[in-house]
């Protein structure tokens, strides 16, 4: 269950989740085997629901009978992963069969991977309170944190039946070290710039050795699908394209065949394997993976649903129509909030319901103030807290919410996600509330007063304040140009109105194409925009800590990213923030790490704002057709790092009325 921060049971929930986390850590460190998850026959017989006797889908039973597949016991690991059911909206163990119709918005299948392309060693928990075992059943650090040992589940198999072993990870890391292949050692394995070494003492053990303490590694292994899809590489299949073991003299065929969303022959660990990918991803079909390693509470192999049919629908309006027409069974992402009323209106006719999940956005969008503005006068102004505060006072957040978002959001200062685990206890929530309110008032006269106090009292004939070099004080604000970003454009206009009232000249700039992000990441802007949401600041710290060439600190981030070779060294509060992040990376104790994040937030409250808030916390729409079961009532559908809804085990969603969603439509 995702508890809302102000909910009275929140404290209890936090306590429980902390205890369960401790238990998990103890369990992980002790490397104990839990009892085998396949329940005895008596347990199975005691369940009364019809259809629950079958431990595998009938399409697989048939194949076993025909001798095409080994029996279930030989396909499942010794100790299968049991899907968690501790969320609101879980109904019951399901029946096998049916077809799930959905759409995706990009040929790379990103939204599908977020749903069922997540097979990491270590998983994020669905409630985002910490980590849980995945394909690894346990992991432990050495005393000094410089070595991590991972114990794989015995007997997991790829979708072609070949065993999944530590050889996969070793093969992946060899690719990282191979200059001919495009992978480089991942950022998380570097300590002081030195990459790790990987040892595989046996088939089920991976030992990573770092040149110093590296406590955040389990989080990195769990975060996003993009790390795990790289290290989960079917070496037994891919080796035939490897230049050292084949006639190919470079990696270009290898890299083509390694695309898990294109190559239907590449074995997978996903619950459903790709069986059709045509016309550049416009037509995609997946079918159950007969060797999938996750079971339900009764020990029945998942997934329940036989087949997935996904269509590439690039145009948002056609997605709306497909949902209204009832062609979609269940959809996460790709639905826009502006169509909310339309979706609600169509519920009856389309035979579906729309649920509101949390986007956990802290600013939609955040207004970025460039700490390293290329113009020296503006740079000097941007570094004065009073100037940034004056800009914050000129933002009418209520109006942004009412006009751009139709009042569905909440006006507040720019923050990361309130549900993030760094702020889980009461002190954390109080701090977060303070952060939301910091410099979040709309007060033009107070803003004017602050600008006067800065000595910006000279004005030209048009009433524009003059800078110290006599030029009019002109601010160029970058906005995305596409009409898909209508909200950002509305908000830009509202902010420009406020700032003009304070005697600033505001120019709204909509750079075409990639220029917006090029200007942003190279630091060639004064004010820009970017949506803000982040659940885990340990692995994605860059909204709060200037660690990457992004957001409000591109040049300082560049300095940190390149180890001081490029960009600009941090000064003042940015130096303090980077020192805190360095401390986080070396800290073993989770609570202390959380405390460092809170210290950093305190710096943002006291010495900020560094970026400005507008409106936040939009609902994220989820569409579920009647007869489609076990979809969580609520959850987080925003930042990609926590990979929702994959962490809710969508392989246990099922369709009760299989006839309805089968072939005939």
């Amino acid at each position: 269950m995702i508890s809302r921060p102000n909910h009275p049971t929140h404290k209890l929930a936090v306590t429980i989740s902390l205890f369960s986390m401790l238990a998990l850590v103890w369990w992980g460190c002790s490397g104990q085997q839990s009892t085998p998850a396949i329940p005895s026959d008596t347990q199975l017989r005691s369940s009364t629901s019809a259809g629950l006797e079958a431990k595998e889908a009938s399409m697989l039973t048939q194949k076993v009978a025909d001798g095409e597949l080994p029996p279930l016991e030989e396909r499942l690991p010794e100790n299968p992963l049991v899907a968690k059911t501790d969320y609101d909206g879980y109904e019951k163990p399901g029946s096998y069969g049916g077809q799930w119709h959905r759409f995706h918005d990009h040929p790379e299948l990103g939204t599908w991977k977020m749903t069922a392309g997540y097979a990491p060693l270590i998983r994020w928990r669905f409630d985002c309170t910490g980590l849980e075992p995945g394909t690894a059943e346990a992991w432990e650090f050495s005393q000094d944190g410089a070595a991590l040992t991972i114990h794989l589940r015995k007997g997991i198999r790829w979708s072609d039946g070949h065993p999944f072993t530590s050889a996969s990870f070793a093969f992946y890391y060899d690719l990282c070290l191979d200059d001919r292949h495009s992978y480089s050692p991942p950022v998380w394995c570097l300590v002081d710039g030195k990459p790790m070494t990987v040892e595989t003492p046996d088939e089920y053990t991976i030992v990573m050795k770092f040149s110093g303490p590296n406590w955040l590694v389990p989080l990195w292994l769990a975060t996003g699908f993009w790390h795990s899809e790289k290290y989960n590489i079917p070496q037994h299949y891919m080796v035939q394209f490897h230049p050292d073991h084949s006639a190919y003299n470079n990696f270009s065929e290898f890299e083509k065949k390694n695309k898990n969303h294109v190559n239907i022959e590449r074995p997978t660990l996903w619950p459903w394997k790709l069986v059709k990918y045509e016309k550049g991803g416009f037509q995609v079909e997946l079918e159950r993976n007969p060797y999938y390693y996750v079971v339900d509470e009764l020990g029945r192999q998942l997934p329940y649903i036989d087949r997935i049919k996904s269509r590439l629908v690039p145009d948002p309006q056609v997605r709306v129509l497909k949902i209204l027409a009832g062609e979609i069974d269940c959809q996460f992402r790709g639905m826009q909030l502006q169509d909310f009323a339309l979706y609600k209106k169509g519920e009856q006719r389309g035979n579906y319901t729309v649920r509101e999940w949390e986007s956990t956005a802290g600013a939609q969008p955040a207004i970025l103030l460039n700490w390293t503005d290329p113009d020296p006068v503006l740079r000097q102004l941007m570094r004065q807290q009073k100037f940034r505060q004056a800009l914050a006072l000129g933002v009418d957040r209520e109006k942004c919410n009412e006009i751009a978002w139709r009042g569905l959001l909440q006006p507040q200062a720019a923050t990361v996600s309130q549900e993030g685990w760094h702020f889980a206890d009461q002190a954390g929530q109080e701090l977060f509330e303070e952060w939301k309110k910091a410099d979040a008032d709309f007060d033009i006269s107070r803003g004017n007063q602050l600008l006067d106090e800065l000595g910006l009292t000279q004005r030209n004939k048009r009433g524009i304040r003059l800078r110290e070099d006599g030029q009019p004080l002109q601010i160029v604000m970058d906005m995305p140009s596409s009409n898909l970003n209508r909200q950002e454009n509305d908000i830009g206009l509202i902010i420009a109105d406020g700032w003009r009232e304070m005697g600033l000249e505001v120019i709204l700039n909509t750079p075409p194409g990639a220029e917006l992000s090029l200007r942003r990441n190279l630091g060639k802007f004064t004010v820009s925009m970017h949506g803000e949401a982040e659940m885990d600041l340990f692995t994605y710290p860059d909204w709060v800590f200037p660690t990457l060439a992004k957001y409000w600190h591109p040049r300082v981030g560049k300095w940190y990213e390149t180890g001081g070779e490029e960009g600009e060294p941090p000064t003042g509060p940015l130096k303090e923030l980077l020192d805190l992040y360095d401390a986080i990376k070396k800290e073993k104790d989770l609570q202390k790490r959380h405390q460092y994040v809170r210290d950093a937030v305190q710096i943002h409250i006291d010495q900020g704002p560094f970026h400005l808030g507008t409106a936040a916390r939009s609902p994220s729409l989820v569409m579920v057709k009647k007869g489609f079961h076990n979809v969580p009532d609520n959850g987080i559908l925003g930042p990609w790092a926590i990979v929702t809804p994959a962490t809710s085990y969508p392989e246990q969603y099922f369709i009760s009325d299989v006839d309805r969603s089968s072939e005939v439509k």
Binding site: D315, G513, L516, S517
Partner: protein, 328 residues
């Protein structure tokens, strides 16, 4: 006639070369390239672009590190051999993406062209022979309404009404069951069921204009002395109109045929986006936004070639209809 056709085909070559150079340059005018776009897209969606950490290598593989003339030469030499290069976004050869879309585009365009002429010519004739009667005035009014409603608006209106009144989702060329299925009689029937909407929406716009032209021309011709002569000879009225007047009055309609092809193709792009049709239009728009240069360049080239061919065909048709036309 043969020399004329050969001459026209030879003339088309420099035209197409000029089109290819200009469009190739214009596609790449905005700052950044496909990979920058993709990184921006990823950052906005995932808040992370670490999957693009090998952007430099990808740039090399896609040939984006080369200069624009080099890229153009390698693309155009491949193009004449039928190898159009790879699409960046869809990670497949352009060849695999475009042909059935070009087929559907032609189907819809030619279909609506036929629709236009089949409706416009008889209605125009009727209107001209019943000048200033109530029916003529009504048809005139309707044609002005038809001319002034943009096709995409008509498509949207149709969609809203069809959904609100009948609960019919009017989009795509296939229902979801047949989408991606192999060709069968059932699929063909499904296609025809879906096809009439875009054909009518696209055709209606042109119908009005053509009808007015047909009416005007016919009135012109009907006032000429040889028509009077024909009537004086005692020919039946319909013989006078159809055999003598219409044959002359239809010439401009045939020469317009060549010109209406570009209108219909570009109109089809917008209507396709609104109606979610699997034609060239939406693919072209996306590839331009992405700077997916080889895909966009190829589509523009193929559409231009279609127009050149269409113009040639209409000229030949004109010559066939009107023997007075000479080739120089």
């Amino acid at each position: 006639m043969t020399t004329y056709i050969i001459h026209r085909i030879l003339m088309a070559i420099p035209t197409l070369i000029a089109i290819s150079i200009v469009s190739f340059i214009i596609i790449q005018l905005p700052k950044g390239d496909y990979l920058d776009r993709r990184i921006q897209e990823l950052e906005e969606q995932y808040g992370d672009s670490s999957s693009m950490e090998m952007a430099a290598e990808l740039r090399q593989r896609y040939g984006l590190d080369k200069s624009m003339p080099q890229r153009y030469l390698s693309w155009i030499t491949g193009f004449v051999q039928g190898n159009f290069g790879d699409s960046f976004r869809y990670e497949v050869e352009v060849n695999q993406l475009i042909w059935d879309r070009i087929g559907f585009t032609l189907l819809i365009s030619i279909g609506s062209l036929f629709f236009t002429y089949i409706i416009a010519v008889p209605v125009g004739i009727y209107s001209a022979t019943h000048q200033y009667k109530f029916s003529d005035n009504l048809l005139t009014l309707l044609s002005f309404v038809g001319m002034s409603i943009p096709a995409f608006l008509l498509a949207l209106t149709l969609m809203v009404f069809a959904f609100e009144l009948f609960g019919l989702p009017l989009f795509g060329l296939f229902s979801s069951y047949y989408e991606g299925a192999p060709w069968t009689v059932g699929k063909l029937g499904d296609l025809i069921q879906h096809l009439w909407i875009p054909v009518i929406v696209l055709g209606l716009n042109g119908t009005a204009g053509l009808m007015r032209i047909m009416r005007g021309n016919l009135l012109d011709v009907l006032g000429q002395p040889f028509i009077q002569t024909a009537r004086a000879k005692g020919l039946k009225e319909w013989v006078v109109v159809v055999k003598h007047a219409v044959r002359l009055a239809i010439n401009p309609l045939v020469s317009i045929l060549g010109m209406s092809l570009p209108t219909i193709l570009s109109g089809a792009a917008i209507v396709s986006i609104v109606l979610g049709l699997p034609t060239v239009g939406p693919l072209l728009l996306r590839s331009l936004l992405d700077e997916d240069i080889y895909l966009a360049g190829t589509l523009i080239m193929l559409l231009s070639s279609l127009l050149v061919i269409g113009n040639l065909l209409s000229d030949i048709a004109l010559a066939w209809v009107d023997p007075r036309i000479r080739y120089e």
